[in-house]
């Protein structure tokens, strides 16, 4: 069952080949077997999952169920789940049980999907290797000595290891796409504003966006359709109808213009990754697409701009974790300042503290213009690069990350090397554009990803292109050995 796509599982549920309860028990059993080693989940909600599964089975029996009804699902531990601990993989929220659901959680629960648990991640989504989690790193199911990527490493690893057919994730600078690439699964970060951020614990509000991780583009289409939509509780949510992403999956891509930014194939890109990406592009050309050489001349500004804007916003977003109302509080504070200092020093990990410090510095009197304002100007240039590109092409493609999965600790001492992991993914967040990663090959036995960048609200087209490619390539169907 765990090899089947969501569409296949949905058919199986309707044909009564298996019930949602059986499906749920099957995946819970896999979690029980493989998670202790992989560490992809922080919390398993087995009991409530079975209750949901029984409810889904009833709905399915009534015949009025949503396509996703009864399908198991994991939520990244950044989405608030009412009554279930939501930690953001931080000691700070180790004891935090939200009294509300995130909109994403609510939307997916409404379809009848069954939550199996909460996935591990980099602390507060700050990291590209999952090594910053308070609950320990997630292992890459393809090679447990290597990182799964981050920050949604738990979601990507869980889907890759077939612990769940689907998982939610978030992406601030590549946190859906990079782990999807490193774990050989498909993931899409929609246009900023497409998916509500209500109940999604903020890292960098102007960049954060939720999206799904699943085995295939088709599964992503089904999931995104249910996650997306206007939400009056999020002022940055866009009031625009959600298309039927599934309906356009089989559209022809004849004549599709694919922009290949030369900046994404320059130095720093592993030659074997480049080859895998080129092979996919060649196949797309054979399917009728036209490859167009383009330039995104301000690409080099992405990482520096991002590492000013994201930490600046984070420094304010994380100020609420002060030990006063909820979350971690230090023992025996001697006064208010001591309460603040020790609760935050003890409750946050190194990377989170580093980014709070960077952000605080960038916004300080006398530095604001040199850093924050400059970064916003760079952001406008990056956005303009893409606007100009999309005058000429329909979709932009390149590698998701410069290298395949690396070993634990390989970049631990060098934050900047780690930050460069997201060199190809960050620009889309800065521009607010949708980005997607699908597997496109194996290098050294671990997967690498092809990135698709679409125009604003062009998710349907991206999913269509990815699906067409997956019809003629095997990469999405490969799975790590030893997890049968």
């Amino acid at each position: 069952m765990h090899d089947m796509s969501i569409a296949e599982l949905a058919l199986g549920l309707r044909a009564k080949t298996f019930s949602s309860r059986e499906l749920t028990e099957h995946f819970l059993a896999r979690i029980g077997r493989f998670n202790p080693d992989l560490n992809a989940l922080i919390t398993v909600t087995g009991e409530s999952a079975l209750v949901s599964a029984d409810a889904a089975d009833k709905q399915l029996k009534n015949g009025l169920a949503h396509d996703l009804c009864g399908i198991p699902l994991l939520h990244k531990d950044i989405f608030c789940t009412r009554g279930t601990r939501t930690s953001c993989a931080s000691k700070m929220l180790h004891n935090f049980i939200p009294p509300y659901d995130a909109t994403v959680v609510e939307n997916l629960a409404q379809t009848g999907m069954v939550m199996l648990g909460k996935t591990n991640m980099d602390e507060f989504a700050m990291g590209s290797s999952n090594e910053t989690s308070f609950y320990g790193a997630v292992k890459n199911p393809w090679d447990t000595a290597k990182v799964p990527g981050g920050s949604s490493g738990g979601s990507a690893a869980a889907v890759a290891a077939r612990l769940s057919p689907a998982a939610t994730a978030t992406d601030t600078g590549g946190s859906i796409r990079q782990p999807a690439a490193l774990c050989g699964v498909s993931g899409i970060k929609p246009t900023y504003g497409r998916v509500s951020r209500w109940g999604m614990i903020a890292f960098a509000s102007s960049l954060d966006q939720g999206g799904p991780i699943a085995k295939t583009a088709q599964d992503c289409a089904l999931l995104l359709g249910a996650m997306a939509g206007f939400d009056s509780r999020d002022s940055t949510s866009v009031d625009r109808p959600v298309p039927n992403y599934h309906a356009s999956l089989n559209d022809s891509i004849q004549g599709l213009k694919i922009g290949i930014p030369r900046e994404y194939f320059s130095s720093g890109l592993d030659g074997r990754v480049a080859k895998a990406v080129q092979d996919s592009l060649t196949i797309l050309r054979e399917l009728g697409a036209e490859l167009v050489d383009i330039s995104l001349p301000n690409s080099h500004l992405s990482v520096p701009a991002y590492y000013v804007i994201a930490p600046a916003e984070a420094s304010a977003n994380l100020a609420r974790f002060d030990g006063v109302r909820y979350g971690y509080r230090c023992e025996n504070p001697k006064d208010l300042e001591d309460l603040y200092c020790r609760s935050r020093s003890e409750g946050f990990g190194e990377e989170v503290k580093r980014r709070i410090l960077i952000g605080t510095y960038c916004l300080s009197a006398g530095y604001y213009d040199a850093y924050y304002r400059k970064a916003q100007q760079a952001r406008a240039l990056i956005r303009q690069d893409f606007t100009q590109a999309f005058d000429k092409v329909d979709v932009v493609m390149g590698p998701t990350c410069p290298t395949p999965a690396f070993r634990f600790g390989a970049k631990g001492d060098d934050p900047v090397a780690m930050y460069l992991e997201d060199i190809y993914t960050i620009a889309t967040n800065l521009a607010g554009l949708p980005g997607m990663s699908i597997p496109c090959g194996l290098v050294d036995g671990t997967p690498v990803g092809l990135q698709l960048i679409g125009n604003y609200f062009a998710e349907a087209q991206m999913l269509n292109v990815a699906h067409q490619l997956q019809q003629v390539t095997p990469w999405h169907a490969l799975q790590p050995e030893g997890l049968i």
Binding site: P99, S315, A316, F321, Y340, S364
Partner: protein, 490 residues
């Protein structure tokens, strides 16, 4: 050396919206701690702000009322600092692009001159909560009440155009009148609905450069503001005359002890690290929306003063009192129309009613005597059932809840004696008792006799225990004295 004072004000005005500026929680004053706070006000993880449309409209109405520049776009920013009553660790406010730009508020000074006070800008922001240091919790802890957290405010910032405490108070009262007339603020100063920060500096008269200023924060009554300014101006002059220098600092004035103290100096000030709030989109205001608001604006103080003078014929001073106090003005208008004597109603409203409210420290809406009740009392004065003097006693009884005017008048036998025969008898008795006075009156030149009537009137009113109808007494008295003149000459 003669000194000159320069004052600028920053005024926090709580907007009278049903819900908070970024959440759906209520804003009722005096509720149980934390009963007016939701997950957003508590800054729970993952919660997001949604701007209250009414708060925006109220700010724009203020802008329209003072004829301010109203930019098409305004932006919310985060002002970062840690404090237990600030749950998010930042206040959402406006800095570079406030919702209301430069405007003007002209004020009438006591000497009759008109002075223009320039408004630098007004911006929208959220209020903070309150720390509680005593309550029904472990005494080793401090409590936090987030009921006020997220209450919408406009902060109005003036140019340093005011030159003394009197001007500052005149301005503050006018501003109070404007925001209460607009209905955007309940104006309850004691509940913190309007709070004044006063920036004060002094300089040698004629000097062009401004002296170092101090800011005295959070004054919530006109009286405290007046006292605090006087105190601070004197302090600064004393320091300078002793050869000292003024330190830029924030000060607090205690209205009970009449003492001010330094709260923090400039060096201790926070670096607030303002930046645009990414959770809120820039606010865009269309011309059409502004026009709609402009047409819906209620009557403003200056217009009201003019109308009241024309419609009711009341004096400029009374009209001005009403102009700045729309609730009192409405009270007056109800009473005036009901009793059909506007001058009497204006006299009583600005006199007796205001005086009693003040002594009892009550707001008008808590007045035990309603406008309608006052009007029945005034009718009895108008139809001469009782005299003005007796009316004050009746009003006093009404205030104490002893009944309505007619009831009190009849129960206490306050009814004015208008029975001619009874009055003639009293007048006759008083004249008979005072033959000297009558002779004196008769002997006085005709043009000056009128002045002599007062002596008789006093005695007659006393004899009737105040209940004699004064006009009637006057008529009878003059008649009888004329008879005495005729009999003397005849």
């Amino acid at each position: 050396m003669p000194w000159e004072t320069v004052i600028g004000l920053e005024i926090h005005v709580q907007l009278a919206t049903e819900s908070k500026i970024f959440s759906g929680a209520g804003t009722r004053f005096g509720s149980a701690p934390n009963s007016q706070a939701c997950a957003i006000d508590l800054a729970m993880p993952g919660t997001l702000p949604v701007l209250n449309r009414q708060a925006v409209d109220y700010a724009l109405m203020f802008g329209l009322a003072i004829d301010a520049d109203l930019p098409e776009t305004s932006v919310f920013e985060r002002k970062n600092y840690f404090y237990p009553d600030l749950p998010k660790g930042y206040q959402t406010t406006q800095l570079e692009k406030p919702i209301v730009g430069a405007g003007n508020i002209p004020i009438n000074l006591p000497d009759g001159t008109l002075k223009n006070v320039r408004i630098h800008h007004a911006h929208l922001e959220e209020d903070a909560g309150k720390s509680l240091h005593e309550g029904s919790f472990n005494a080793a802890y401090s409590g936090i009440d987030l009921n006020r957290a997220g209450t919408p405010l406009i902060e109005i910032v003036t140019e340093p155009d005011l030159s003394n405490a009197t001007e500052a108070v005149v301005f503050a009262k006018k501003l109070h009148g404007i925001v209460t007339s607009l209905g955007i603020c309940d104006g309850h100063m004691a509940e913190g609905s309007m709070r004044f920060d006063v920036n004060i500096s002094v300089r040698p008269r004629g000097s062009e450069t401004l002296g170092t200023r101090t800011e005295t924060k959070n004054l919530n009554s006109f009286k405290f503001m007046e006292e605090a300014i006087a105190l601070e101006v004197n302090r600064q002059i004393d320091v300078l005359e002793d050869g000292g220098v003024i330190t830029q600092e924030t000060r607090l004035y205690n209205g009970d002890t009449k003492v001010a103290r330094s709260m923090r100096s400039k060096e201790e000030a926070n670096d607030y690290r303002y930046f645009p709030c990414p959770d809120l989109l820039p606010v865009t205001i269309t011309k059409a929306h502004l026009q709609k608001l402009r047409l819906s604006l209620p009557e403003l103080p200056d217009a009201r003063a003019e109308r009241l003078q024309q419609q009711f014929g009341i004096a400029a001073q009374e009209a001005e009192i009403f102009a700045y106090n729309p609730a009192l003005s409405d009270y007056f208008e109800v009473a005036a129309k009901a009793c059909n004597d506007a001058l009497l109603a204006a006299h009583w409203t600005t006199g007796e009613v205001v005086r009693r409210l003040k002594t009892a420290s009550l707001e008008l809406h808590d007045s035990p005597v309603s406008a309608a009740q006052l009007s029945t009392l005034l009718k009895r004065v108008g139809d001469q059932t009782i005299s003005g003097k007796i009316a004050k006693q009746v009003f006093e009884a009404m205030w104490l809840g002893e009944g309505d005017a007619d009831q009190i008048i009849s129960e206490r036998g306050f009814k004015q004696v208008s029975d001619s025969s009874a009055l003639e008898k009293i007048v006759g008795e008083v004249l008979a008792k005072n033959p000297e006075m009558v002779r004196d009156y008769v002997g006085t030149e005709e043009s000056r006799r009128k002045k002599k009537l007062g002596g008789f009137m006093g005695q007659i009113m006393q004899a009737s225990r105040g209940q004699a109808n004064p006009q009637q007494v006057n008529r009878i008295l003059v008649e009888k004295l004329n008879e005495a003149i005729h009999s003397a000459s005849g």
